[in-house]
């Protein structure tokens, strides 16, 4: 046990819906001020977990602590949390100022203090001029900032974000992500963020809990889940990976050699522990794990399609006998040399992929 109190602690929290286990025993410790993302596809249990933390659902097993206080049986309104929903859930019959002040009024804060804190919160989200507007008169991004101000003005111990960016278009989404992250860091509020969007998770989080089928498979930094996925699912879900079947050649304590498609990759040894040399393995290749090769060496293939992204392009390549892989090349070169249908040869890139026993 560490001396400092965890901002949020889950001790074996589980939830059943009839015979369906929505969440298997989840264990999680979140430090004060930390931004932790629950990431996974729909149905992975991330929303169930968020609802358990918020108190909208009752846990069947385990205990939940917020700020060191046991809250497993505490009703929602006494948990001291702020939530921003995907639909924003602004009260349509109240103006922006009254929306933001709702939690303060519920706490019996004086009128003068309410007005001051609402003004401060609206300034924080740059909406001071909108105080008198109704929610339906605001744009999506503005509504979201109101929802954020409303959740933060009560100075909650925990900020919960339930897919808050899903309803925004792409440009606005990026802008709101930066803004939210900035506010979160400035206030130092511990944040649990739920999303199915791995790019969002990567760019915002201190740590990411990757979830699948009701389990937290890996809890690590964005770099950790990207570079050292601990599980096949994580390797496949984070980044655009293609799988290449290969064989384990040998390993030492740290890294292993894997031969796939005529290329030899160096991969971390840990995921392959206990696998015998010569056994089949799956190499998870991302576009940066391969590079074009000159001459007759390397893995041969044909470009199936090309996604031009300006400074670079991503090629989908059909290899000879090893399935399809993705490959990142400089944008200009792609235009000149590799249109769809062009032959290409590939060599091992600079970054190290991961491999798991064949599944």
């Amino acid at each position: 046990m560490s001396g400092t109190e965890d901002a949020l602690r889950l001790d074996g929290v589980g939830k059943q819906f009839g015979t369906f286990t929505a969440l298997h025993e989840a264990w999680l410790r979140v430090r004060p001020g930390e931004f932790v993302t629950l990431l996974g596809p729909s149905g992975c249990g991330k929303t169930t977990l968020l609802n358990l933390i918020a108190g909208f659902l009752e846990a069947d097993a385990g205990e939940i602590f917020i700020g060191g206080k046991l809250v497993t049986q505490t009703p929602v309104w006494e948990r001291d949390i702020g939530i921003v929903f995907q639909s924003y859930a602004l009260f349509p019959h109240m103006d922006v100022a009254r929306n933001v002040g709702y939690g303060l009024r519920a706490r019996g804060v004086s009128r003068a203090e309410e007005a001051a804190r609402v003004a401060e919160a609206l300034a924080m989200v740059r909406l001071s001029s909108m105080a008198g507007r109704r929610p339906r008169q605001l744009s999506g991004g503005q509504q979201q900032r109101v929802a954020l101000a409303r959740a933060l003005v009560i100075r909650p111990s925990l900020l919960l974000l339930d897919e808050p960016f899903s309803a925004l278009d792409r440009n606005l989404r990026m802008e709101m992500q930066f803004e939210l992250k900035e506010i979160q860091q400035k206030l130092g509020v511990t944040t649990i963020f739920v999303t199915h969007d791995q790019a969002e998770a990567m760019s915002m989080s201190d740590r990411i809990a990757v979830m699948s089928e009701g389990r937290i498979l890996q809890l690590d930094t964005p770099e950790g889940v990207y570079r050292r996925p601990a599980h096949r699912f994580v390797a496949g879900f984070i980044g655009d990976a293609t799988v290449l079947r290969g064989r384990l050649k040998g390993m030492d304590g740290v890294s292993a050699g894997v031969e796939a498609g005529g290329l030899t990759f160096s991969v971390p040894a840990a995921p392959l522990e206990g696998t015998a040399p010569g056994a089949e393995v799956d190499v998870f290749l991302r576009p940066e794990h391969l590079q074009p090769a000159e001459g007759e060496a390397g893995l041969a293939g044909t470009v199936v399609s090309r996604a031009y992204l300006g400074d670079r392009a991503e090629l989908l390549v059909q290899t000879e006998g090893a399935g399809r892989v993705m490959l990142r090349v400089p944008g200009l070169a792609a235009l000149e040399r590799w249109p769809a249908g062009a032959p290409i040869r590939m060599a091992v890139g600079s970054a190290e992929p991961v491999a798991f026993p064949a599944g």
Partner: protein, 264 residues
């Protein structure tokens, strides 16, 4: 094709409005007999309709019954609609069916039934039976209106309020009820209009003292055949139209009836 469609619309409108138009026009006839086409013009029948004592009493009675019955129906209906929308319980389907049943049961059956029950339990044919009968009749419409309002409300609104520290009672008063206000008001107005116009069931459960306006009108036609009835019909139509127009102006009937989707 376009003209054929227009002609159809005009024909339909004519068909729907014809009886009302004929009645309204006859109301101004100078002859003491309902007839068409009218001869001459007079306000006489309007004057008689407005000063005839049975009509005056019936009008006041109808107002009271409509106001009390629709208020009771709103109270019962909102509780039931809320329960049906938010909770899952064994008797849910049964309750829904029972409350919508008056739509399928003829009004005279309800009136007759109410009469029999009232006399069995020894209650005289007083106000209670009339009001109770009207509550049963308008409840399905109230329920429908409230149910649509509840369905159109984002359940996350209540979740958000709870998370902000408001206890359930406070959430109900500050978020749920204001959100339902248009549905409540619209449901109340519909119930009041239906109750105000109700005749068949009322005929069974009213007596001279408690007769509502439609019943008073019926009793009048049995004895007289002058255009006072037509004048009264015209006034009826005018009143209902004014109420509905106001309701539509301030509440948006399309939204209440669920013919418009308010969710984005």
């Amino acid at each position: 094709m376009k003209y054929a469609f227009r002609a159809l619309v005009v024909a339909l409108l004519g068909f729907v409005l014809l009886p009302a138009v004929v009645a309204c026009v006859s109301a101004f006839d100078t002859r003491a007999l309902i007839a068409f086409p009218p001869q001459g013009f007079t306000w006489r029948w309007f004057h008689r309709a407005l000063t005839y004592e049975d009509f005056q009493v019936g009008f006041v009675n109808s107002l009271y019954v409509a106001a009390i019955a629709s208020t009771l129906a709103i109270l019962v209906g909102s509780a039931v609609a809320y329960a049906i929308d938010r909770y899952d319980f064994a008797a849910k389907r049964v309750l829904e069916a029972v409350l919508l049943a008056p739509l399928a049961i003829p009004h005279f059956t309800i009136g007759l039934g109410a009469l029999i029950v009232a006399s069995q339990v020894g209650a005289a044919r007083g106000w209670f039976v009339v009001v109770a009968c009207h509550v049963v009749l308008v409840l399905p419409f109230v329920l429908r209106s409230l149910y649509v309002s509840l369905k159109n409300m984002d359940p996350r609104l209540e979740s958000a309020a709870l998370s902000l520290g408001a206890k359930p009672g406070r959430v109900l008063l500050t978020v749920t009820l204001p959100g339902l206000a248009p549905g409540l008001a619209g449901g109340w107005i519909f119930a009041a209009i239906l109750s105000f116009n109700e005749f068949t069931a009322s005929l069974f459960v009213t007596v001279q003292r408690t007769q509502t306006l439609p019943v008073a009108m019926y009793n009048y036609v049995r004895e007289y055949a002058d255009p006072s009835m037509a004048a009264l019909s015209a006034l009826y139509i005018l009143l209902t139209t004014v109420v509905l127009t106001l309701a539509n102006r301030f509440l948006g009937l399309g939204r209440i009836l669920g013919t418009e989707d308010v969710r984005h």
